[in-house]
């Protein structure tokens, strides 16, 4: 992996390549395995969704790809370099469920912060306005995060993650806190942006429907520690639309992924699952 890091801009590299990744967290005087032998490739410009039950290690995987967490074992290459170099070249965008906006900055300043830090200060205000426009909150540029609803905050987080033209967008349940209608809106908003920018996307979600509706491929993680148990190609046409959800192809893909998940989850090794002796 390291040998290719001299050519970070060569887009023939996959956006993410994970090989034999394992991760253990220290807990007291022991360690707890969160991921075990995970392999995953995200091609350049591809939209990959990751689904799996709670505690299977989805957030852990994303944190490792983002370079926030050093893996215990295995190789990870991001945009042709190691995770650190991807971070250093500021090609990443991150959106999490609780987006961690800075409450003392207004919407525009929160988005601008990314440009200030990455050094894209030329025409920064125009770029900020463009992004706010695109995610539909330009009217609220002078509002503070505390004055916004959850859905609007997620739009700001999306703008903040996209404003510096990142080549890889990492999203961890970005729409988890939203009501169903805002959520639907945001999904198509995201797809529109993605189709324009052709960013590569890793999208972690609890919602199987969301995964199937958005992604080119759905990666299914199961177990504790989590492993990639299946990968499902989503061959629905683009651009996706709401009406596809009634179509038989969508329904059958949905059923496929659902089946892979339920059967793959062994309840006996998870606290949050039901005890064995329950009928």
């Amino acid at each position: 992996m390291i040998s290719t890091s001299q050519h970070p801009n060569l887009s023939t590299h996959p956006a993410v390549e994970v090989r034999g990744l394992s991760h253990r967290y220290p807990v007291g005087n022991k360690t707890v395995a969160a991921l075990q032998g995970v392999n995953l490739t995200v091609n350049d410009g591809e939209f990959v969704a990751v689904v799996g039950p709670s505690g299977c290690g989805k957030t852990t995987l994303l944190s490792i790809i983002a370079g926030l967490l050093p893996p215990t074992d295995g190789q990870v290459s991001v945009l042709g370099g190691d995770t650190g170099s991807a971070r250093r070249s500021q090609e990443l965008g991150l959106v999490t469920q609780d987006p961690g906006l800075l409450p003392w900055l207004d919407v525009a300043s929160n988005v601008r912060l990314t440009l200030d830090i990455t050094g894209h200060v030329d025409a920064a205000d125009e770029r900020v306005n463009e992004l706010l426009e695109r995610v539909g909150i330009s009217h609220f540029a002078r509002y503070y995060p505390g004055q916004l609803s959850g859905g609007m905050r997620q739009r700001v987080a999306l703008a903040r993650a996209l404003v510096h033209h990142p080549r890889l967008l990492l999203m961890d349940e970005p729409f988890g806190a939203l009501d169903e209608i805002s959520r639907e809106e945001m999904r198509f908003e995201l797809l529109k942006v993605w189709e324009q920018e052709r960013t590569s996307v890793v999208f972690v979600t609890h919602s199987i429907r969301e995964a199937v509706l958005l992604a080119d491929r759905v990666v299914v993680i199961n177990g504790q520690p989590g492993r990639v148990t299946d990968v499902v190609e989503i061959d629905l046409e683009r651009p996706r639309s709401e009406s596809m959800e009634e179509g038989p192809r969508y329904q059958s893909l949905l059923a496929d992924v659902k089946g892979l998940l339920v059967s793959g989850n062994d309840p006996s090794d998870s606290l949050s699952a039901v005890p064995e002796d329950r009928t």
């Binding site: 944190s63 983002a66 971070r87 250093r88 965008g93 409450p103 503070y144 004055q147």
Partner: protein, 258 residues
Amino acid sequence: MNRQIRRKVIIILTPVLASALLLAVWETWVRVKDVKEYLLPTPSAVLTALIDDPGRYAEGARLSLQAALGGLLLASLGAFILAVAMAHSRALERALYPPALALKVTPVVAVAPLFTIWFGFGLAPKVLIAAMITFFPMLVNSVVGLRSIDPRAHDFMRTINASPWQIFWRLRVPSSLPYVFAGLRISVPLSLIGAVVAEFLSGSAGMGQIILIANGDFDTPALFGAIFVLAALGIVLTSSVALVERRVLFWHHSSVSL
């Protein structure tokens, strides 16, 4: 509008009326029980003492305030700088906690004479005593504040490769402000006490000296006059901190989530 004004009036009036009531009860009690003035003066005697020589109290208040604010400033800056180090290293925190605690349990009366010897006369030892007494709460609050960053915001800044310096100034420092202000609210009255005790022990001019002389002369009205002035200073200072806090931290408590 009308309603808002009425609300504000109530908020201001309640404590004023309550204090007036308290003073009235006090006055009546002292008069009815015929308590000797050198034990407990009536509030009216205290007011008379204050009105008799307002210049003296004003000058005393000025001097004590100067020392208190100087000490507070010194302690806040010192504590914040040390807190930056401690917030970055648990080991350093553990190492420095016992000496900081030792400083905290050292009674001012024990070290005030030493401070005069070490730091000379005049303002310096008073400022240092006010600083010593306010250092610990400022340190503890600053450390907690600098640690209390939103981990999601931190993660985001790391993914866009913000430097430790950028993270410090743009995330840690603003995040610490609510705690720093909470520390200030605790420290403001403490700094006043520190300055006054220093003046009391060294006999140097200020509210402490007024108390010292009043005590020596059995002039309890003047003593309580000084306490009233200190209470007023404490309330004004605390309110000022609260006011600045509301301005600076508009995004914190006061903000309404829609």
